[in-house]
């Protein structure tokens, strides 16, 4: 077997393999023998079909099978011999076989780029504050208070910001060049709320019950409702009710209403939750800083197959969201941004895999088990069943790889100026 390796790019290789005809011939004979033993053809008992009959019926398919098998075996041997580590399946091109000259084939595949990480210990990162201030706790309490607000009808005073207005309205809007008229009854508007257009708030402020107000507005082209995006609309509102927002006092009753014994309890819970959130955020920021620093110091091109494996789900997700919003085509800017994210993630995978290799990071069985059991769904199914189903789906190895990368990331954080 003659093997030539060609480096097409940093992570793409081409193997040119040529073999004498005997190799394919031997494999073809082996396959014929196997088929002769097991093949069932009408008119013959199993194992009694003459070779001529098999050759005339299935000869071409069997020969192709022998070629495919020989190529796959040769590919395996070649990568072993040349010490290559493909991360994608090989694509066979330009396959030529003849009884005189033998078999020749070109196989292209991708390999993980050979990178050398200069320095991954002691990367300097900016600390992210994880302390929780009294002000932040107060702000969460105010949000809880706001979510428990009640609206009381008022009859004599004029509407103001934060009031809830119950309105009927007629709407004139253009749809495919035709002016259409629609109506709505008992529609709720909170004055000053971010989702209410400014023009509507301005027009309805200071109104009284039974007042009529006309508003003309043009929705921006990036408005979230696709039906109204970029449209000129005329509203005619009739104010039916004005309700005043009343916040409940933060007292014992309020605290009990949200499931706590005392205000101190509620505050300490809010503080803990905020701390958890900040720690999480701090870890993410640290990870991003470390990886950005590693990416900057280790220039390499990630294999397109890994980039594609990250890009496809991102594209699908964005397309799904676009469908919901009614947007038809993805703009080039979004596509480019998604590609950049995919490239960054691919680089992260390769760099962390390299760290795992250098630091000899492995996942032990108890570690895998404890990680799996953190997931509710897995805990309910049971460890053995989960492992079996993941292996069947073919995602087990990827998941273990991801756990190893997480471990490598923790190690990198511990090596930083912050961690040491």
């Amino acid at each position: 077997m003659d093997i030539k390796v060609k480096e097409i790019s940093q992570c793409r290789r081409e193997l040119e393999i040529s073999m004498p005809p005997d190799v394919v011939k031997a494999k073809t004979t082996e396959l014929y023998d196997r088929y002769q033993k097991n093949l069932r053809i009408d008119g013959f008992r199993r194992g009694k079909v003459p070779l001529d009959v098999i050759k005339s019926k299935y000869g071409k398919a069997i020969e192709q099978e022998a070629i495919d098998f020989t190529i796959s075996e040769a590919f395996k041997n070649a990568i072993k011999e040349k010490g290559l580590n493909p991360i994608t399946q090989g694509i066979a091109e330009d396959t030529k076989f003849s009884v005189e000259t033998g078999l020749s084939v070109k196989i292209t595949f991708e390999v993980a780029p050979d990178i050398k990480i200069k320095n991954y210990k002691g990367i300097e990162i900016k600390p992210y504050p994880t302390e929780v201030s009294e002000k932040e706790i107060e702000s969460v309490l105010l949000k809880i208070q706001d979510s428990k607000a009640i609206y009381i009808p008022v009859f004599t005073r004029r509407a103001r910001i934060d009031d809830m207005l119950i309105v009927d309205y007629d709407i004139l809007h253009e749809e495919r060049g035709i002016i259409r008229k629609d109506k709505a009854h008992s529609y709720t508007i909170i004055l000053g709320a971010p989702e209410v257009p400014e023009e509507v708030t301005k027009s309805l402020i200071n109104s009284l019950v039974d007042d009529r107000k006309k508003v003309s507005l043009r929705y921006p082209t990036d408005y979230k409702d696709a039906n109204l995006r970029g449209q000129s609309v005329e509203y005619e509102f009739v104010v039916r009710e004005i309700k005043e927002k009343q916040l409940p006092p933060i007292d014992d009753e309020f605290v009990k209403g949200v499931g706590f014994k005392s205000l101190v309890d509620l505050k300490s819970n809010v503080e803990q939750e905020l701390k958890k959130e900040k720690h999480k955020e701090s870890n993410i920021k640290a990870e991003t800083q470390i990886l950005n620093s590693l990416i900057q110091d280790t220039p390499f091109e990630p294999p397109s197959s890994i980039v594609a494996s990250y890009l496809q789900p991102l594209l699908k997700q964005v397309e799904k969201e676009m469908k919901k919003d009614g947007t038809k085509e993805m703009d080039a800017e979004t596509k480019k941004a998604l590609e950049e994210i995919a490239i960054w993630r691919a680089k992260r995978e390769i760099l962390l895999d390299k760290i795992c290799e250098i630091e000899k990071i492995e996942m032990t069985e108890p570690e895998i088990k404890s990680k799996f059991m953190e997931v509710d769904e897995y805990r309910q199914k049971g460890y053995e069943k989960v492992v079996k189903s993941l292996k069947e789906k073919g995602t087990y190895d990827w998941l273990i790889g991801e756990l190893k990368r997480e471990k490598a990331m923790d190690l990198l954080i511990s090596y930083t100026n912050k961690g040491v």
Partner: protein
């Protein structure tokens, strides 16, 4: 016909097996084979085979009757399309 037995007859005794129309007689078979394959037929043996009884749910029926003809060829004659099947 290509069956284990038909191939054995062909190899050992230069006899070729055909599935023929039920209404044909030995003379017609001989003439047809000689004309179609340009060979000399020495002898024709025929067998009328009754169709097997078959049942589909509650409906009972039977496969069609068929006729088999075994033609003995002159030594040295052979039918090409049977070669390598």
């Amino acid at each position: 016909m290509v069956t284990e037995k038909a191939l054995k007859l062909k190899t050992d005794k230069n006899k070729y097996t055909f599935r023929v129309a039920t209404g044909t007689n030995k003379i017609e078979i001989k003439r047809a084979v000689e004309e179609l394959f340009k060979v000399r037929v020495l002898r024709v043996a025929t067998q009328c085979r009754s169709g097997k009884p078959k049942r589909v749910g509650r409906f009972e029926g039977r496969r069609a009757e068929w006729k088999k003809a075994i033609c003995t060829l002159r030594q040295g004659d052979k039918i090409e399309i049977f070669e390598g099947v």
